[in-house]
Amino acid sequence: MTDEAGMQAALAFMRRLRTGLDAGLELPEALTRGAVALPRDARQTVQRVLRRLEGDYTEDEWGFDEEFTDLVEPLFGFLYDRWWRVNVEGARAVPAHGRALLVANHAGILPWDATMISMALLREHPLPRHPRFLVLDWAFDLPWISVFVRRVGGVVASPYNALRLLEQDKLVAVFPEGVRGTGKPFKERYRLRRFGRGGFVEIALRAGAPIVPVAVVGSEEIYPKLGDIPPLARLIGAPFFPVTPTFPWLGPLGVVPLPSRWRIEFCEPIETASYGPEAAGDRAVVLELSERVRETVQQALYGNLVRRGPAFV
């Protein structure tokens, strides 16, 4: 029934658009008139897109574009609800305001886990806000991907960026495993890699931001990485060239992630302000905190794996 109504609305829209164009109207004008036939929310979307074409939108100094993020939310919503059927625990552990650093495990070649963490907060948190992500530098040299990542809140993974964001009291998400996490083979799934040299702890200490460990279960199964072709990776300048059951065999279709079942758990925040900013230079404190975060995430991963049960059903 609703499908039929939707189809009718779309047809009416196309008819009006054609009439408008035949009458010699400019495209934006014709689109606006055509949109009258659409349901209210669709009409608003068309109008928003038209305004954007005029340059009438805002980006903050980081290039984050909230309106754009809202426009693409339905796509992520579909992945969240239908595709990966995400279960969330402990979203309230994330501070509703002020600076905080989310530290999560990283897997799945493309950073879908980052988008799902964002969705989890939007859906489950009483006062949701968009987290900013530290993204592997490599993404910023890629056409389209660089723009998309920037608009939805990604920034280059640089300590300067993380510190500045936290000082502006933003919610920042980092994946300390980095490419070591995304590029690990399928048989080592859910075993956390080394957390670098604890750079993320140094930043949290310097900014006095609480650390919220986040465990993401499900991201390891979306692209089971069976192998790697280093020469091809070097050719395109990528950190690795993955071979999965579908990629590169199915071409672009191989990029479609598998529909595993996901669980995301936000653990209790670890407070860092009491150490003072000088502690950032103390290796012992930094490494101990880093290990504590890593241990928390690892335990939460094991717990959620058991609670999730089979990966795909």
């Binding site: 340059g55 530098d137 920034v155």
Partner: protein
């Protein structure tokens, strides 16, 4: 404060002329000397004009005789003027600055030097932090000639500053300026019938409104600070949004073809882009301006978006609501 005597190089540039005119209005500056091979853009009342090339070793005498306490170096060329070769531009920038500094060595009265340098020293990189702080000049190897030139000038200047602890040496690292009365690369770019962009890239651009460029220069002359200071408008703007605000269609060109296509366009006489500008169109760049506000006490009046909108209203006469 005792009366000031100021020498301005590049007084024939738009900003140089404006600075001279501005300082003339303030009695604190009892003597203003302008140095350039070109005449100033407006009639100046009490600025003493000296026609000389800063590459000429003779300027040492000029500066010593003028007895100035502050030297403002506004003679750095950002893009070759028509008929100027890249070689000549390098000469004016590097040799000229070197010559000027050695002239200052011979002038015992000099207490402050302010150079209007460029934020181009940071380059434009995909891996760059979203905001360059003043200490981040060496994060990436220099990629273009202009970048190397600016780095060389800064090296000489730092060296000079170390050997003359009594002289306040201020290096202003300015982002590209935009303004209806300025002829800048970004203004020419937005005025074209269509703006070439890199297909799939929409970098964050940070500019500097012409009024703020002047005000920052005035602030630095009034209160010279030791060290480098980033000078830019607040915030950034996506290139795509900037082009849309200017009401221009963009022409996306795939990365590998961008050089050849714009090169061909230049031979046909439609637009030419320096290497720095090209990298800016691909990767963008923004700087941190905390030091500008804290140390020079100048808070830019225009955000980057407002600077673009102001340019659009004045150049196009198109009125849009400010963001």
């Amino acid at each position: 404060m005792s009366p000031r005597r100021v020498l301005i190089t590049g007084v024939g540039s738009h900003l140089g002329s404006l600075l001279a005119a501005r300082l003339e209005r303030e009695p604190e500056f009892e003597r203003i000397v302008g140095l350039d091979v070109r005449p100033p853009r407006m009639s100046l009342a009490r600025t003493e004009l000296i026609e000389a090339d800063i590459r000429d070793p003779g300027i040492g005498d000029v500066i010593a005789r003028a007895g100035v306490d502050t030297v403002v170096h506004d003679g750095i060329v950002r893009q070759p003027r028509p008929g100027m070769s890249e070689r000549a531009m390098h000469d004016i920038n590097v040799i000229g600055s070197l010559q000027l500094l050695s002239a200052c060595e011979q002038a015992p009265t000099v207490r402050a030097i302010v150079i209007r340098g460029s934020a181009g020293i940071y380059g434009a990189e995909p891996q760059a932090p979203q905001f360059f702080g003043e200490e981040m000049t060496r994060l990436f190897p220099p990629r273009t000639r202009f970048q190397r030139d600016v780095a060389e000038i800064e090296d000489y200047f730092e060296n000079y500053s170390r050997r003359h602890p009594g002289v306040a040496c201020t290096m202003l690292r300015c982002q590209p300026s935009i303004g209806a009365s300025l002829d800048t690369q970004i203004g020419r770019y937005l005025a074209q019938p269509t703006c070439p962009t890199y297909l799939g890239f929409d970098p964050r651009i940070q500019l500097l409104h012409e009024d703020d460029a002047l005000e920052a220069l005035v602030a630095a002359v009034r209160r010279p600070e030791r060290g480098a200071v980033n000078v830019a408008a607040r915030g950034t703007i996506g290139l795509a949004r900037m082009i849309r605000l200017a009401g221009r269609p963009s022409l996306p060109i795939p990365g590998p073809l961008f050089g050849p296509v714009t090169g061909a366009a230049r031979r046909l006489g439609v637009g030419s882009y320096s290497d720095d500008f090209r990298r800016l169109l691909r990767y963008g760049r923004a700087v941190d301006t905390a030091r500008l506000e804290e140390r020079l006490g100048h808070r830019p009046r225009y955000s980057t978006a407002a600077a673009v909108e102001d340019w659009v209203t004045r150049v196009r006469g198109r009125v849009r609501s400010a963001a």
